[in-house]
């Protein structure tokens, strides 16, 4: 029965998208809280380089993407520490260099035609059962890590020094967050593509803010809103024959606008303490 369902490419696409959105939403809340949107962009733009390296070295692509993303994230943090260049300059340099390097490297791979568009904008309709499995593993590990790191991450987000004085292992938690972002990027690459991954993280989280009274509510709602966007985007893309990744982001954007057009009294506020 389940095997039969998974045979349908739309069903596989939906499942992959839902899984990715369920992790990207809660993680996106942290990206929004910590003002890391551009950081996420930079790391996700380097994912293509991971693909190229993976193909060249004959290694698992998801693993390679995760590794390259973590490496870029660590490089960024090290460069930011030196404080010679402003953060946004550094991010700009790294983001676009990594993306260009990835595109150039991909074209060097002979004998293998890589569909560049699929990596840039996602190719969720081509998700196979194997992909589904790796998304499930990557997403599952990311979600588990996020739950384990939740409290220290939140403490760190509110005030880093205070957290450190109170015994939060700051370096370890920050590394964990980077690993999380890398895992989600690797999982989301096929769904929305490297150019649009950050949108799937921050737009649902930004929409969720209007309803949430606690950090947990915002994270869970972000996941749900992201899943709704995936469903709507997939349907729209099928209906109007548009590229799926961008359509999902457009659906998320429409949701965001709708949420912010709603008058305040219609917004249900969850009781929060």
């Amino acid at each position: 029965m389940m095997g039969g369902l998974l045979d349908d490419f739309l069903m596989r696409a939906l499942l992959a998208g839902l899984m990715v959105a369920a992790v990207a939403g809660p993680l996106g809340a942290f990206v929004v809280w910590r003002r890391m949107a551009y950081f996420g962009d930079t790391v996700s733009h380097s994912a293509l380089l991971g693909v190229a390296l993976g193909v060249l070295l004959g290694l698992n692509l998801n693993l390679m993407v995760t590794l390259v993303c973590v490496a870029i994230a660590i490089l960024l943090v090290l460069l930011q520490r030196r404080q010679e260049l402003a953060s946004d300059t550094l991010l700009g340099i790294l983001a676009h260099s990594a993306l260009s390097l990835g595109i150039v490297a991909v074209t060097f791979i002979e004998g293998l035609r890589v569909d560049l568009m699929a990596y840039l904008f996602g190719d969720i309709l081509a998700v196979g059962t194997g992909d589904l499995l790796s998304i499930a593993i990557g997403g599952g590990v990311a979600l588990l890590l996020l739950i384990l790191l939740w409290r220290p991450l939140l403490a760190l987000t509110v005030h880093e020094e205070l957290a450190q004085v109170e015994g939060v292992p700051v370096l370890l938690v920050r590394l964990g967050l980077m690993l999380l972002i890398a895992l989600v990027i690797a999982a989301a690459m096929q769904v929305v593509g490297v150019l649009l991954i950050t949108a799937l993280m921050i737009i649902p989280a930004a929409s969720a803010r209007r309803f949430a009274a606690t950090p947990e509510q915002m994270a869970i709602l972000a996941g749900i809103i992201g899943m709704l966007a995936v469903g709507a985007g997939l349907w729209g893309s099928f209906q109007y024959d548009t590229p799926t990744g961008p359509t999902i982001v457009v659906a998320a954007m429409l949701g965001f606008i709708l949420v912010h057009l709603l008058p305040g009294r219609l917004i249900p506020h969850f009781g929060g303490r």
């Binding site: 929004v32 404080q83 403490a155 509110v158 020094e161 004085v165 109170e166 803010r209 606690t214 950090p215």
Partner: protein, 276 residues
Amino acid sequence: MRKTPSLPAEPDSDAVPLLSARDVSLERAGRVILDHVSVQVRPAEVTVVIGPNGAGKTSLLRVLLGLWKPGQGRVQRRRGLRIGYMPQRLQIEPVLPLSVRRFLTLRQRAPEGVLLERLERVGVPHLLHKPVQSLSGGEMQRVLLARALLNRPNLLVLDEPAQGVDIVGQGEVFKLIDDIRHETGCGVLMVSHDLHLVMAGADAVICLNQHVCCTGRPEEVSRHPEYQRLFPETDMQGIGVYRHDHDHVHDVAGEVHEHHAGCAHGHRPGPGGDSR
């Protein structure tokens, strides 16, 4: 219950400082920020670090708290030391939905009764369920103080506790800190550039300008030429107005440690600006 000198000091004895830095130096981005600084924070005393902007006050605090590793020298904390830390300023992104209750329990869970009791002690029990972003500067400082008190600290570390509070509120915050330390008997280490308010309640003052210019009781420090050079507008008069119960101490010759109050080393010209 006097200890004989031959016995090692027991952990609880007042002779053992809560926190001490010995010969600590710190350089950042090629600039000397702390230059062979030695300080002690004793139990049940209010130790205040004063100095002009860019003197390295906050840096010294960070080193003492263990947030930064000194390039040279050692920091020692007494065993069993529980620090309640109140950072200089805390701004929480409006996009993070966070109530005061949640903020208080970020690191350690506590029953609501305890939270309310702490908030009541600092005079703001009505804020428990308010979003943190809705608090005024003075309310935030009080909540921060309540949070610092949660784990029953034996040392309160406060970085500019009256920052962003109006002049009336500043007096209240310092009064509150003074009351709390008398109630709990905890030591207090405080950084401030508000000389009048702070020196009034201090037991020990450390005047810092990269190096330790002078240390001692407030009245000793305020008479020190180095202090008067750094803060020319202040004089004994101004401090005398706010002083309360320490006036008897400075007459006792034995209490005055000349090598503490004086500077043993040569002074470089102070830094030109206060940029940092």
